[in-house]
């Protein structure tokens, strides 16, 4: 080695692949100690090759291979130290100079527009590398435009962690139902005038629905935090421009109107003017079920770096305004009682006590007489300590059953709408028992 103090053996670096090969390797990707490097053959003079060794990150290599950054800028803008290596034709390193991108000799640099599009075969390291980066960069690009929701428990017992059951059954299902109902309502509101054929509109919506779903692009556990994004890229396949524009905007509209953190007057007015009561009920009931549940907090933020704010409707009149309470008419069933009297003849030798009622075997009336004895009093827990026999009459009048009795010249009467004679008898006995206790 010539006179320098840097000892660096390129042969110890692992070669990943030659990116540019022109009769010999021109630009090679190397790895050493987990770090990525590019080795760029910049000159060949007399008996020597001159290389530039550049430490670089994988993301920049991906950008270079996919025509996003030029080799010129990759070198010039690289902030790491770069190494100019002189090597003989045997492969021995003779000299190393440390330099920086901005000081590289012009003759060692490629054209300003030194872009490259690398098409790897499936044998290439870059085949998986590029596919994986493309998938990740898609997620990253979605994440940049994602808004975030956080579900947490208000119970200090579990810190702010959320149970799996609560998450799936009470939170995510409600959110998903609300969003789907919103999509449907907004789609038909928007396009029913332009495309009046309802069946056709239904078909379009059904086909569109899977593409409208928010993409989950970020996740955090404990309290459950999720980043949701609208997939702009996939929506490019929608041919109708109006529908495409709507599908790109509808996610934001949902976030603005439904996941609003304060439901101010303007938002509420927009909600009411855009959607009818039934649509609002379907959209907002699942969300209010979360926000009004004292066991959870639902928080929302505009982006990963923003701060969360709790979705909470402080003025409960707002909820009533968006989803008015349904006035339900209670239907009471009118009963029409009658007393049925019948006589049965049973074969004493038969164990079965089933009585078959035939219309011809009994008749009906609206009143009948019964006798209440001290045994009946005891049966209901009222002790008399003497024998009694009180004549009572059961009568019906439409939906009312009455039980009345005359005792010591006093008339006792109880009425009931349920038709439960036992209860009625107990009430009457209670009244008579009380009278007996007070008069004796």
């Amino acid at each position: 080695m010539e006179n320098n103090n840097i000892h660096l053996d390129i042969n110890q670096f692992e070669k990943i692949e030659d990116i540019i090969y022109l009769d010999e390797p021109i630009l090679s990707h190397l790895k050493y100690n987990g770090k990525d490097f590019l080795l760029y053959l910049v000159d060949t003079k007399e008996l020597y090759d001159y290389f530039l060794l550049i430490e670089i990150d994988e993301a920049t290599i991906f950008e270079y291979l996919t025509n996003q950054i030029s080799l010129f800028n990759l070198i010039k803008e690289n902030k790491n130290f770069q190494y100019l290596i002189k090597q003989d034709f045997q492969g021995n390193t003779l000299n190393i100079q440390v330099t920086q991108g901005i000081y590289i000799d012009e003759n060692y640099l490629p054209d300003v527009d030194s872009f490259l599009e690398y098409f790897p075969t499936d044998k290439s390291y870059y085949y998986e590398f590029i596919n994986s980066y493309k998938a990740n960069s898609y997620t990253l690009s979605l994440r940049e435009h994602a808004f975030y929701l956080k579900f947490s428990s208000t119970s200090s017992k579990y810190a702010d962690t959320i149970g799996l059951n609560e998450l799936t059954n009470e939170l995510l299902v409600n959110l998903s139902d609300s969003f789907e109902n919103f999509l449907k309502a907004d789609f038909f509101q928007r396009f029913k005038k332009i495309k009046p054929n309802t069946n056709k509109l239904q078909k379009i919506f059904k086909k569109l629905l899977p593409d409208l779903d928010f993409r989950m692009v970020d996740l955090k556990f404990g309290s459950f935090e999720v980043g949701l994004a609208i997939d702009h890229i996939m929506k490019s396949s929608i041919e109708d421009n109006d529908i495409k524009d709507w599908s790109i905007e509808v996610g934001n509209k949902y976030k603005k109107l439904v996941l609003d953190d304060d439901y101010d007057e303007a938002t509420v007015e927009e909600i009411i003017s855009n959607y009818d009561e039934e649509e609002r009920r379907k959209i907002f009931t699942p969300i209010f079920a979360i926000t009004e549940n004292p066991n959870f907090n639902l928080e929302v933020k505009e982006s990963k770096k923003s701060n969360y704010s709790i979705v909470k409707i402080r003025d409960k009149k707002v909820i009533e305004k968006i989803i008015p309470t349904k006035i339900e008419v209670l239907k009471t069933e009118k009963k029409d009682f009658e007393i049925v009297q019948f006589t049965t003849v049973l074969d004493k030798n038969l164990s079965s006590k089933t009585i078959k009622l035939e219309n011809t075997l009994f008749n009906s009336t609206n009143s009948t007489d019964v006798v209440l004895t001290d045994k009946d009093f005891e049966k209901f827990g009222f002790s008399l300590k003497k024998e009694v026999s009180i004549s009572a009459q059961i009568s019906t009048n439409k939906d009312t059953v009455s039980l009345s009795a005359k005792f010591n010249g006093e008339v006792f009467e109880v009425n009931d709408h349920t038709g439960k004679i036992e209860e009625l008898t107990k009430k009457l006995i209670s009244k008579i028992h009380e009278y007996i206790l007070n008069t004796e």
């Binding site: 009769d23 053959l41 001159y50 034709f89 490629p110 490259l116 075969t121």
Partner: protein, 129 residues
């Protein structure tokens, strides 16, 4: 088929690694004035470090004019002295052995011993014709 530098190539195991059959139009980066030197595997002839590298005994060709041009644009100004033009060829199976490797745009061509490369390649301009 005997190739140019067959003796040296034969000393390397599994070289050439494969043979892509069929006629194919390919492009090569050459000097301003094309000479026999434009078709010598200079790297290996000059540099002993490549002696046992199979690819170095072949010639680099590219699948399109644009991919050859991209390579030229990515060469340093110093290295571009030997490569400034793009020549086009239509190779048949009789011309030698050719194959693609990890980069779909890059082919390595091992010419048949008696092939006249200077007549086989024609310098082309921007549109590749």
């Amino acid at each position: 088929m005997e190739l140019k530098y067959q003796k040296e190539i034969s000393t390397i195991e599994n070289c050439p690694i494969e043979n892509l059959s069929g006629e194919k139009i390919l492009f090569r980066c050459v000097e301003e004035s094309m000479t026999e030197n434009s078709f010598l595997p200079n790297a290996v002839l000059l540099k002993p470090k490549f002696e046992k590298e199979c690819l170095a005994w072949g010639l680099s060709l590219f699948s399109s004019y644009d991919s050859a041009k991209q390579v030229l644009q990515n060469l340093s100004k110093s290295k571009k002295v030997n490569y400034s033009k793009i020549a086009r060829t239509n190779l048949t199976d009789n011309d030698g052995i050719k194959h693609c490797s990890k980069n779909k745009s890059h082919y390595t061509f091992y010419p048949q011993k008696n092939l006249d490369l200077l007549t086989k390649f024609v310098i082309v301009e921007e549109n590749g014709k």
